[in-house]
């Protein structure tokens, strides 16, 4: 059997039309996510939606539906007015140029916010912070320990104050009280940044903004930072299955490139740092 170009063209277009049409009829064709986070499979919270699975493509309405709380709380917290807007627009609203180096207000912050509101645990990223408008909402609606909220307030972004770390005057209090105060968000290394050195020496705000938070593994932490904080190669390798990146390599990027889950690696490194007294 021979076919010519016209027949082939027809077959191609027809296959697309029929294939897409049939998948639509049977309800399989979806160009957007279901907006339903995956459920936690094990443990005390089994069956509940996992805040870690919140995607940037969710709208604020989706968020409220998925986690069964009033989306207005989250919108007030993040200064958003349109409930149909997507979470990933936060990264545009809170442009990185406005925020202190190494911090971010984006989907990660929303995940953490949801975790605090619902009490469902989440391993939050240390570089995700909240705008100051989130603090009263958390005080009113979350079940988190007030000491934890105090710590978050210390790190919160205040519009007009680009050098937010300078607005974190009580890092020691945050660092000491937070871990014990986060039963609902365990493990939450995000609240244990312990930036004691910069605060104690009170350098210029810009200097503080560029200094890595000692002992807190974040998405910006390099292998050199880990070594500077007291972890030798052998200890780092014990957390990374015997491999290690170059000094300048960012741990998160290095892990992603090798298919390692950064959150898991971060927990191991954080434990090693804690054992080393950092």
């Amino acid at each position: 059997m021979k076919i010519n170009a016209k027949s082939m063209a027809l077959a191609i277009v027809a296959t697309f039309v029929v294939g897409i049409g049939v998948s639509q009829i049977v309800g399989y064709w979806k160009m957007e996510g279901s907006k339903t986070p995956v459920a936690i499979k094990e443990g005390e919270f089994a069956g509940l939606p996992n805040p870690a699975d919140i995607r940037g493509s969710y709208t604020w309405e989706d968020l409220g539906k998925a986690f069964k709380f009033d989306p207005a709380w989250a919108m007030t917290a993040f200064g958003v007015t349109d409930p149909a807007s997507k979470l990933n627009t936060l990264e545009t609203v809170y442009s990185k140029t406005l925020l202190p180096l190494g911090t971010e207000i984006g989907t990660g912050s929303v995940r953490y916010f949801v975790s605090l509101i619902t009490g469902i645990p989440l391993e939050a990223e240390a570089d995700n912070i909240f705008p100051i408008t989130a603090i009263p909402v958390l005080r009113e609606h979350s079940k988190a320990d007030p000491a934890l909220i105090d710590a978050l307030e210390a790190k919160a972004f205040r519009p007009g104050q680009a050098a937010a770390p300078a607005a974190a005057p009580a890092p020691e209090a945050a660092g000491s009280s937070a871990p014990a105060a986060t039963p609902k968000a365990e493990p939450a290394p995000v609240v244990a940044p312990a930036p004691t050195a910069p605060a104690a020496s009170a350098p210029a705000a810009a200097d503080v903004a560029h200094a890595p938070m000692v002992g807190a593994v974040t998405g910006k932490t390099s292998f050199k930072d880990l070594k500077d904080w007291g972890l030798d190669e052998a200890k780092i390798k014990s957390a990374t299955d015997g491999k290690i990146g170059k000094d300048g390599d960012i741990v998160k990027d290095w892990a992603s490139a090798r298919g390692l889950t950064f959150s898991e690696l971060k927990t191991k490194l954080q434990d090693l740092l804690a054992a080393a007294g950092k």
């Binding site: 082939m8 191609i12 897409i20 399989y28 160009m31 807007s85």
Partner: protein, 294 residues
């Protein structure tokens, strides 16, 4: 008169392919643009809207493992990608990688840049790389495919996005493209001035996947040796530099089923380079053998 008709027929077939390519290019561009405008609150009901990943069949391909083993899709991939992946595979089993030759907007983009290259370099265009080196380089895309597939499976993320020139082309204005994506796109644009479809030949993981179907596709490109006048018109026309003129059936893993080599377009002799089913080829082969008394 016959020559005029032949030229007209060739032009019509080329136009047909180019129209389909242009239509899909516009469809993808509109879909992606509308998605971004939708985020800004601007919605036009008639026009399609969706993420680039939602309409990329390769997302469906790399999600198969997750789908089978975990029942979930890779992040950013949606069910539509799986449907398109299945459609692409079905078409490839029938006709070879027609997705590459007729649909892929990035292939179309490279062909567009190639027009400039052809004007600049004339007959030298697409013949810069020595054949020995070129032959080896053609297998690079399988390494890319293996790496992308493995990393996507272990990470559950679309690892290739950061390096994907196709993503960079359609999303360059959104701020979502990584520097590596821009570098890849720039490299493809420059290389396309010298080589036809360089990304398809050397790096495309989806092309690598679909290319395998050339080994067993139902409808293959066949050269009828008894009527062939060995003019090499088919070789000159081939975008992928395949040696059609010495093949009986084109089984090269790089064929993109563009049909540029066939008697409908480049080959000047009717019924000499054609698309035919395996059954037809076998019957034809039997008749040839019988005629030659073998």
């Amino acid at each position: 008169m016959a020559v005029v008709n032949k030229k007209l027929q060739a032009k019509n077939v080329r136009n047909l392919r180019h129209i389909i390519q242009a239509a899909f290019f516009v469809l993808v561009a509109v879909t992606v643009t509308m998605e971004k405008l939708g985020e800004a609150g601007i919605k036009i009901p008639i026009l399609p809207s969706g993420s680039l990943h939602a309409i990329c069949p390769f997302g469906g391909v790399v999600s198969f493992w997750n789908l089978l083993n975990l029942g979930t899709l890779v992040k950013k991939v949606h069910e539509s990608s799986v449907v398109l992946g299945v459609i692409g595979l079905f078409l490839a089993i029938l006709f070879g990688p027609v997705i590459c030759g007729w649909i892929c907007p990035f292939g179309s983009f490279q062909e567009f840049i190639a027009k400039i290259g052809k004007k600049l370099f004339g007959k030298k265009y697409n013949n810069f790389i020595p054949k020995k080196i070129d032959r080896v380089l053609r297998y690079l895309r399988y390494l890319v495919f293996a790496w992308v597939s493995y990393m996507t499976v272990v990470s559950g993320k679309l690892i290739f996005e950061a390096y994907d020139p196709y993503f960079a082309l359609f999303k360059f204005w959104t701020g979502e493209v990584a520097l590596t994506g821009f570098i890849a796109l720039g490299a493809v644009v420059v290389l396309s001035l010298f080589v036809e479809r360089p990304f398809c030949k050397y790096a495309c993981p989806y092309g690598a996947f679909l290319g395998i179907t050339n080994l067993f596709r139902v409808f293959g490109i066949r050269r009828n040796a008894p009527t062939c006048i060995s003019c090499n018109a088919c070789n000159k026309a081939c975008l992928m530099n395949i040696d059609v003129a010495s093949a009986k059936v084109v089984r090269d893993h790089q064929c993109i089923s563009c049909l540029e080599c066939t008697s409908e377009v480049a080959c000047p002799v009717p019924a000499t380079v054609e698309v035919m089913s395996f059954a037809g080829q076998a019957k034809d082969s039997y008749a040839e053998k019988k005629a030659s008394g073998k």
